[in-house]
Structures are given as structure tokens and as C-alpha cells.
């Protein structure tokens, strides 16, 4: 199984883990971690803590990383575990629901009455419909879809990240797509365009 993608450096690229390499590691992986953590529906201050803790744990473990998985997959696994841990803590404190709030803090799309090109308005509308449908999916389906379509992980890698097996992941992906399609209607993400 080829796990090394050219766009994701190996662990050796950051070793020895001197301050310069540690900074490079963080700069390389922080945006990916932030995007993944955002999908857990945590408050922004908690997301910030989770990103920090994920990067710190990855830095601690990097010299001992054996390369059984792609480095980015390994970091993704740490991020998921840390996000779940924090979400359960918040749920115990009744700050969010057990499955996460999956809030949408994106800015509202441009006012349709404003002078926006019709194409931009239609595109924003399509995105809004997909976003709302995603928010209604169960966690496992939504996370699997995110890892597959957004992070472009393979099925085996998603299984590793989500402590599952490839067949279950394929099932999550299929069910997630089917439910999204049902919610979006016969026109799919295009809506009534």
C-alpha cells in the first residue's frame, strides 16, 4: 500500500526535530488540522486548544514515528482523538450535545439583493444547501465524507483514522452520499437551477 503522497512530506523531512524543523512541521500541518477539527462542531476557543494539543502531541511523537502510515494520516488520527476527547469533556459539562454542535460560523453569503453576479448567488445557494445537508448527517457519515472528499484520504486510511475497517468506511461513504442525495432532492447540489 503506497502511503506516501508527494504533497505530504515524510517524517524524515522534519528530523532532527530542531526548532526550525519543528516550526516547519507545524506550519505544514496546522491548516489541515484546523480544517479537520472544525468538522467536530466545537466552539472556536476549544478548536484552538485542540489544534494546539494535536500539534504538540505530534511534535512529541514525531521522532518515534515509525512510518506505518502516511505522516498526514497519523496527524489526522491524533487530531480526531483529541477532538473527540474534548467533545466528550464538553458534553459532560453540557456545553454542547454529545454529537457536537456542527455549528456554521461561516459568514452569511452576500445579500441576494445586493449587486452580486447571478452566478455567485447561485453558487452560494448551492453551497448553503450542501452545508445544511451535511450538518444533518450523523457524525460518522459526515466525518468519513470529509476525510474522503475534502482531505482526500483513501478508504484504508480513513479506517485507520476512525478506528474502523475499510468495509465499514465504504458503507459510511455510501450511506452518507445516499442521505445527502435524498436531502438535496432530485436536482442534487444544483438545486432548482
Amino acid at each position: 500500500m503506497a502511503l506516501t503522497a508527494p504533497d505530504h512530506p515524510d517524517a524524515e523531512a522534519f528530523l532532527p526535530l530542531d526548532p526550525a524543523n519543528a516550526r516547519r512541521f507545524v506550519e505544514t500541518h496546522a491548516p489541515m488540522v484546523a480544517a479537520q477539527v472544525a468538522r467536530f462542531g466545537l466552539p472556536a476557543d476549544v478548536q484552538e486548544d485542540v489544534v494546539q494539543e494535536t500539534l504538540l502531541r505530534a511534535l512529541r511523537g514525531l521522532p518515534g514515528f515509525r512510518g506505518d502510515a502516511r505522516l498526514s494520516t497519523w496527524v489526522t488520527t491524533i487530531a480526531r482523538r483529541e477532538a473527540i476527547r474534548r467533545r466528550e469533556t464538553l458534553a459532560r459539562q453540557d456545553r454542547i450535545g454529545r454529537s457536537g454542535a456542527f455549528g456554521d460560523d461561516r459568514p452569511e453569503p452576500a445579500d441576494p439583493d445586493a449587486e452580486a453576479p447571478p452566478e455567485a448567488v447561485a453558487r452560494d445557494e448551492r453551497r448553503r444547501r450542501v452545508r445544511e445537508a451535511l450538518a444533518r448527517l450523523p457524525d460518522d457519515l459526515r466525518l468519513a465524507l470529509g476525510y474522503f472528499y475534502f482531505d482526500r484520504l483513501g478508504v484504508a486510511e480513513i479506517a485507520q483514522v476512525m478506528d474502523s475497517n475499510p468495509n465499514t468506511v465504504k458503507s459510511w461513504l455510501k450511506r452518507g452520499r445516499d442521505r445527502l442525495a435524498a436531502m438535496l432532492g432530485p436536482d442534487g447540489p444544483e438545486g432548482d437551477r
Binding site: 506550519e27 491548516p31 480544517a35 477539527v37 462542531g41 494535536t54 511534535l59 518515534g64 442534487g188 447540489p189
Partner: protein, 164 residues
């Protein structure tokens, strides 16, 4: 079940659009989280390599204990040698003499025992004189251990964290 494909239909294409997923942390908050992680990491590495600011580092504590044990062992050995009659006085052959010390106070015996112990340690022939020289073998070993402990460079600090 085959591997699913991406971008092969409008839904798949829509799901590759970052705008349909929750927005990540804004750049300033992301930068702050990254800087904190880096700072924590560097602090941990420094803490691993430097002794604690208060008190002794574990290595120093063990070194001090070993040195203390060596000193205590030497003192006990010398005292026993002085008291058990193994040493018969400054006039005994090979033990040297201490003319400035009064023999009836016992100080001369102790001082003679210490001198003989040192002589026994330094003598290549442990079969000579007192027959107690082999007893200094543990002390030799302890002394050597303390010396090694002090002279060898510290081991590289081990990296903490999970291993996969």
C-alpha cells in the same frame, strides 16, 4: 465493494468544495495555536535536558547517594578494622607509624586502620598484611561506579509521546 470515486458526479464535486465544510479557525487564532504548540514543545525539550530549577536532578541525587554510601562504607570498614584487633598498632609491619598520636586514646589505631586501608587499596598484592584488603573490593566497585557516573556524558534525552 470497490473503492469509491471522487469528482465523478455533482455531489462528489460539491463535497470537494471547502466552502461546504465548516470554516476552520481564522488565521490569527490558528497562528496563535501553532505558536503555543511550538512554545510548549520547546519548553518540554528544555525541561528534559536541564536539571530542575529547585533541588537536585535525579542524576545528581543518585550520585550523591552513591558517594555517601562509599564514604559511609569506608568509615565503617575502618572503624571495624580498628576495633576488631586486626590491626595491632603502628609498629606492625607495613602499616606505617604515627608518632604524634597517643596509642592509649585509640586514635592512632583508627588512623592506622585508615592508612592501612588506603595502602591495601593501592597495593597490587592483596594477600599481604591484613587479609582485609579483599573486603575493599565492594568499595572499589562503588568508587568506580561513582566515578563513571560523574565522568560519562548524560544519555540523550528520550523523546516522549506516542509511538505507533
Amino acid at each position: 465493494m470497490s473503492e469509491p470515486r471522487r469528482d465523478d458526479d455533482p455531489l462528489g464535486e460539491a463535497l470537494t468544495d471547502p466552502a461546504v465544510w465548516p470554516a476552520p479557525l481564522p488565521p490569527d487564532r490558528l497562528r496563535r495555536a501553532a505558536e503555543r504548540a511550538l512554545a510548549d514543545h520547546l519548553c518540554e525539550r528544555l525541561r528534559d535536558r536541564e536539571p530542575a530549577r529547585t533541588g537536585l536532578a535525579p542524576r545528581e541525587v543518585l550520585g550523591a547517594l552513591a558517594a555517601g554510601a562509599a564514604a559511609a562504607g569506608a568509615a565503617v570498614w575502618a572503624a571495624l578494622a580498628a576495633l576488631d584487633g586486626a590491626f595491632t598498632g603502628p609498629e606492625a609491619p607495613g602499616q606505617g607509624s604515627f608518632p604524634g598520636l597517643p596509642g592509649d586514646l585509640g586514635l592512632e589505631r583508627v588512623a592506622g586502620a585508615l592508612g592501612a586501608w588506603a595502602e591495601g587499596l593501592l597495593s597490587p598484592d592483596w594477600s599481604g598484611s591484613w587479609g582485609l584488603a579483599p573486603a575493599s573490593l565492594p568499595l572499589w566497585a562503588l568508587t568506580a561506579a561513582v566515578a563513571l557516573w560523574a565522568l560519562l556524558p548524560p544519555l540523550p534525552s528520550s523523546e516522549r509521546g506516542s509511538r505507533r
